[in-house]
């Protein structure tokens, strides 16, 4: 059974003097419980694709079927998009309508905050957070939904290397434990290969290549297989770039 399938999806934006084809002729199926990394140069349509997958943006043509069932979607945007008028806690609780009891909700919240090292900032307002903290709070808001499908747009981009490493590992173990379906946008090749069971390479709104990654979790970033996969993906990206 496939969770998400896109076929021949197109989405373009009309600017003042031209139209931009953000996503064109895009077909992709994502099996239940797969971790997919999406990679490609800036402006190639990754965020647009993710919004379409999440049902937040309607494509101009093509079909999108998302088999959500009982599952909730957790969406991490490229920018934090926190509500300025709400504290970290209030921002996170906003998406937790699925938990009725207050104490259960607080328990989930506390666990997520602990994981993201934000416990001390539970009552802070967004203007009191640093960029990376805001990004973590946004990540926490998605995790608090206890989603079956996680859609993440460069969620670790403004974190320091240590925390990024830790959260990558946590994400993998969460993925393995809960059998989540994850679509993870990144511009970091090694992150894409470290996390995904499949890496989707995009350029100019189109799907260039899909690469299965059959390495065991947790992956060893210095193994020769890992490095050669990274190199090969890197090559595709730079090659496709010069094609245009």
């Amino acid at each position: 059974m496939s969770d998400i399938s896109l076929s021949d999806v197109n989405k373009s934006f009309v600017l003042r003097d031209r139209t931009v084809d953000a996503v064109s002729n895009f077909s992709l199926t994502i099996e239940d419980g797969t971790f997919v990394s999406v990679i490609g140069p800036s402006g190639c349509g990754k965020s647009t694709l993710l919004s379409i997958i999440g049902g937040l943006l309607k494509p101009d043509s093509g079909t999108v079927s998302i088999n959500r069932g009982e599952k909730r979607c957790g969406f991490v945007f490229q920018e934090p998009r926190l509500l300025n008028s709400c504290t970290v806690k209030e921002n996170m609780i906003l998406g937790m309508k699925h938990i009725k009891s207050n104490s259960a909700r607080n328990q989930v919240l506390a666990d997520v905050l602990e994981l993201l090292e934000l416990t001390e900032f539970i009552n802070a307002y967004p203007y009191q957070l640093s960029g990376g903290m805001a990004q973590r709070a946004a990540l926490g808001r998605a995790l608090c939904r206890q989603p079956g499908i996680l859609l993440m747009d460069e969620p670790f981009s403004s974190l320091d290397a240590m925390l990024r490493k830790k959260l990558q590992n946590e994400l993998v173990s969460l993925y393995l434990k809960k059998n989540l379906t994850i679509v993870f946008v990144t511009h970091d090749v090694s992150e894409a290969v470290f996390l995904g069971r499949k890496v989707v390479i995009m350029n100019d709104g189109q799907l260039i290549r899909q690469q299965k990654i059959d390495l065991e979790y947790p992956r060893n970033t210095s193994s020769p297989e890992f490095i050669s996969l990274c190199d090969s993906i890197m090559e595709t990206i730079s090659y496709s770039r010069y094609q245009v």
Binding site: L57, F75, R81, L83, N84, L94, G95
Partner: protein
């Protein structure tokens, strides 16, 4: 320390006032010294005159302000929802906005007489545009990306209004309300100079006719100080209501 900062300039101004009047021996009728104005204050307060006029003015300003809020805010919400209709009214509203409320006084008296209604309508004219325009632009400028975020959390329409629209528009709305409060207070005094029988504006006009310059000064000072206090109070209430707006705390 903060108190010191706030009071330095007023104290210097009062001192200069005192010094200038005495050094140059200025006619007290034109420019009464501070102690004379203070005595006038004392007299006005002791005889309950000032309190009475202030009360009347306050109630008028508050009434006008609240009525305007009840008209301007729903109208702004309407035009936010039906954006297209706004372009029909845009030019007309801009025309109205360019007319100073004071220029309308003769017409207002013609329409509403010299009673309470004409004063109230002058205040409404003075507060309408700051509240209406700021509320409208506050609502129109809410970042649509936040509403998309709301969709991603499966928020209902009501929840999006409660948690996104209102708080995000709040800074602009607050600015509008503050501007309007200042406008209403200023227009009020003008309104009270249209044949009123009470209010601070009336008190000043009456003192002028009686050639009591010190009372005129006391009246002007009262208007200024109360205006200042009202703005401060407004800010305090808003800082309580919107704890996330750091620039309100100062």
């Amino acid at each position: 320390m903060r108190l010191l900062k706030k009071f330095t300039v007023p104290v210097i101004v009062i001192f200069l006032w005192w010094a200038v009047v005495h050094v140059f021996n200025i006619n007290a009728f034109l420019f009464p010294p501070p102690e004379k104005v203070l005595a006038a204050f004392h007299h006005l307060i002791e005889k309950d005159i000032l309190q009475k006029h202030v009360c009347v003015s306050f109630i008028r300003a508050f009434r006008g302000f609240s009525i305007t809020m009840l008209i301007a805010m729903p109208l702004a919400v309407f035009f936010h929802i039906f954006k297209r209709t706004f372009s029909f009214f845009d030019g007309f509203l801009n025309f109205l906005r360019s007319v100073p409320p004071l220029a309308m006084i003769p017409l207002l008296i013609l329409w509403f007489g010299i009673g309470e209604a004409s004063k109230l309508s002058l205040i409404i004219l003075a507060c309408f545009f700051p509240i209406f325009l700021n509320t409208l632009s506050g609502l129109n400028n809410v970042d649509s990306k936040l509403l998309v975020m709301g969709d991603s959390l499966d928020l209902t329409k009501i929840e999006k209004i409660r948690y996104i629209m209102i708080p995000e528009a709040a800074p602009a709305i607050i600015t509008g309300l503050r501007l309007a409060l200042g406008n209403s207070w200023r227009a009020l005094v003008a309104a009270e100079m249209i044949a009123a029988s009470s209010g601070i504006g009336y008190m000043i006009l009456d003192a002028e006719e009686m050639a009591k310059t010190d009372v005129v000064y006391a009246g002007i000072l009262t208007i200024g100080i109360l205006g200042l206090l009202m703005d401060k109070m407004c800010l305090m209430i808003m800082a309580k209501l919107c704890p996330w707006m750091e620039d309100l705390k100062r």
